[in-house]
Subunit: 226 residues, 2 copies
């Protein structure tokens, strides 16, 4: 019997990728308007390359951009980019349409709810607070605390330990096959993939290994499984 | 003849201390509402002590607060405190009534304008951008860049060098006697103290050393001197 439901945060509870892209484009336009000598498209390609190199949680993307393009860091441009990025990000921040109703449904049925996320602990709580979701979650387990990132087993084991439940009593809901689904099932949890589809290879892998994996179109469908 | 006017930022161009206090109190109330076991007054005294120990530019005041009071860092409370602090801070952020008109006055008279500030370069530009002042300033010189804090001579010398002007062609406007006034006059600049008053000792020191220092009630009075 399932007692605890764990969620990935980004692109599972809310549309991270969509708003991040728009926020980045707005930031680059502010920097271009203030003297960054690139077209919008060139700037976006540069930034994507930097994000790929440094990871999306790195906080000095704009420093590197000005340094590479203009030969030195340009504090005014960097600050303009950061402010615009944050303003647009928070203005656009919103849940997927059925996230709130699904969490209410799960709470009414007395499931314990946790989040398992790669990133800094306080940043993950910050997302939940800004999304208005922090009262739903009993705990947030992060790679910073586990000293290990999804799909590594350690972060899932820490989550089970902190929630006080067994792997077979727990299900992981996430949008990334490798990080969320493979990670969770590798410690014996079941898993639900949302907002994503399985490749043929992934389907074969699940069948071959006999993993307990469900695939649903979006988070509202989680209610039919629990 | 004066060619360049340098400004301190905090409490010279805008009311930092007033809004920071209100933002901190709002942040503490949010943390108390979410379980920080202190009264508003106890929490504020704790926080002031931590700020005194670590400096106001340190970014983990709330981490230390939860650790000291509750035995461990509490990410939810820390994140609630940080979000509330920033939201209130940016909501309250505003210039002193005559800052804008004074800067316009100086621009019309072709003075070069700079800011000299202890702190991180990008954070100082961020303040100017959020205050809507960044187009007025030709340059911002920070302790991060000078590797030395006001009142040390190095930061003022770097400011003169970057602005391409001599000490006797420059005036520093600030609210702190030691950091701004002593610092600037020690390299030969003249200085204007705003939003503050001189003690008897400070007056005697200025007379004894023959420093070029004016004292005015607020930033609007700078217009009468330049």
């Amino acid at each position: 019997m399932i007692k605890a439901v764990f969620f990935d945060i980004d692109d599972t509870l809310y549309d991270t990728s969509g708003f991040a892209k728009r926020a980045r484009k707005a930031a680059l336009q502010a920097m271009i308007d203030a003297g960054l000598p690139l077209s919008q498209q060139e700037a976006y390609l540069h930034l994507r390359k930097i994000i790929k190199e440094k990871g999306s949680n790195y906080d000095k993307h704009f420093n590197i951009l000005t340094k590479r393009v203009m030969g030195e860091e340009k504090p005014l441009l960097i600050a303009l980019g950061m402010i615009t990025y944050h303003n647009v990000k928070f203005a656009l921040l919103r849940l997927f349409p059925d996230t709130m109703s699904t969490l209410i449904y799960l709470k009414k049925r007395d499931y314990q709810l946790g989040a398992i996320s790669n990133g800094l602990t306080i940043k993950q709580w910050e997302k939940l607070i800004r999304l208005g979701l922090h009262h739903f979650f009993d705990d947030v387990i992060t790679s910073q605390e586990a000293n290990s990132e999804k799909p590594d087993q350690k972060i899932f084991q820490l989550a089970l330990e902190r929630m006080g439940c067994q792997a077979e009593e727990s299900v992981m809901v996430g949008n990334k096959f490798n990080e969320d689904i493979i990670g969770a099932t590798s410690v014996g949890m079941s898993a639900i993939l949302v907002n994503s589809q399985l490749t043929e290879e992934e389907k074969e892998f699940i069948d071959r290994e006999g993993l307990k994996v469900e695939v649903v179109s979006d988070i509202s469908q989680v209610q039919k499984l629990l």
